[in-house]
């Protein structure tokens, strides 16, 4: 079924999708780390993680985390009583903050790699 998207429904969809991605990521993350008992294998994986392609992957993950966090803050503020009049502005400000924090974070990420 097709239905018109609005700011509220898009914010909800992005929150959901990032949430599902993060859940899957966390399961994989904990699974891999908990099976790394050998120091040599651990160091090998850590060296592999320095690969610039993986750093880009981490940056994407960082963006997903930020988007999920700010979407969560918006919903929490609404639940706590911040006027629903501001729900759209909060979604836009949230997206802007995601971008700003991501750019600052990306700067430090890249400084570490190159």
């Amino acid at each position: 079924m097709r239905y018109r998207w609005n700011t509220g429904s898009l914010a909800w969809l992005v929150h959901r999708v990032t949430g599902i991605i993060l859940s899957l990521y966390l399961i994989a993350h904990i699974y891999v780390l908990s099976h790394l008992k050998d120091p040599v294998a651990y160091n090998k994986l850590m060296a592999f993680m320095k690969n610039p392609l993986l750093k880009i992957g981490e940056l994407i993950l960082f963006a997903i985390v930020l988007k999920h966090v700010f979407a969560g803050i918006r919903i929490t503020l609404l639940e706590m009583g911040v006027s629903t009049k501001y729900h759209k502005s909060m979604a836009y400000v949230g997206a802007l903050l995601v971008f700003i924090v991501w750019v600052v974070g990306a700067f430090y990420f890249f400084r570490e790699v190159f």
Binding site: R4, G8, L78
Partner: protein, 239 residues
């Protein structure tokens, strides 16, 4: 100024064909006419089998709620001049279709019954009436303007996924009585709305607010219900 509009209407005529189809009609309408005027013209002059609900035609009865260009609206309140030349019309989403644009609203009204949509006050009635001050009336003013057209509940993605969900309309009705200072059934009402398919299913998606023809901020009311439920200790769980 008159202009031709193409009405693309999703048809469902179960007596003829069990599947749906899209029919197109070219209708000349002036800028002050509404989608409902277009539908009436089609029914009267082009295809008498086209079926839709209408009654007051002035945004009061809520009969002509339908999905117009991807969003629920009242056909009688939507001016054609505000729409593109191609107007796509479908029945309200997620309800069983009886014929063309007529949906079976039984499920929708049943939700309303679940929230006890009547004043409950066992105290002996005063000689004349249970007084409500203008200030107290103001607390529920927005919620009593609901015309129960069904646009909100059928626009809610939570309802699309969970047909048992009370939905914005019934929750707004629950608010209307919970915040009515003459009502005494707070606990009974909170019990009714804090179950598995109740108020906690609202994810503040705001689709209901976008479509309400009476411009009621329904999400604001549902959020207030959630805060009241927490304050009174009705947090759901095994209830």
């Amino acid at each position: 100024m008159s202009k031709y509009y193409t009405f693309k209407i999703k048809r469902y005529l179960p007596d003829e064909n069990p599947s749906t189809r899209w029919d197109e009609f070219r209708v000349k309408l002036n800028s002050m006419e509404r989608v409902l005027d277009g539908l009436i013209k089609i029914k009267e002059t082009m295809d008498g089998t086209l079926t839709f609900r209408k009654s007051c035609a002035h945004g009061v009865c809520g009969s002509c709620a339908m999905k117009i260009n991807g969003q629920n609206r009242l056909a009688c309140q939507t001016l054609v001049k505000d729409l593109p030349e191609i107007i796509e019309i479908e029945p309200l989403p997620a309800l069983p279709v009886i014929k063309d644009l007529v949906v079976d609203m039984t499920m929708f009204f049943h939700k309303n019954d679940k929230v006890l949509p009547y004043l409950i006050n066992e105290e002996p009635p005063p000689e004349r009436e249970r007084i409500q001050s203008p200030e107290d009336q103001h607390k529920i003013l927005e919620s009593i303007t609901c015309i129960m057209c069904g646009s909100c509940t059928t626009s809610c993605p939570v309802f699309w996924a969970d047909k048992e969900y009370l939905g914005p309309s019934a929750l707004l009705k629950a608010y209307r009585f919970l915040f009515d200072t003459r009502d005494r059934a707070t606990e009974q009402r909170l019990e009714a709305i804090t179950g598995e398919h109740g108020v906690w299913r609202c994810h503040s998606i705001f689709n209901c607010v976008e479509v309400c023809p009476k411009e009621i901020d329904i999400t604001k009311h549902i959020l207030k219900l959630k805060r009241l439920a927490v304050k009174k200790g009705f947090t759901g769980g095994e209830k």
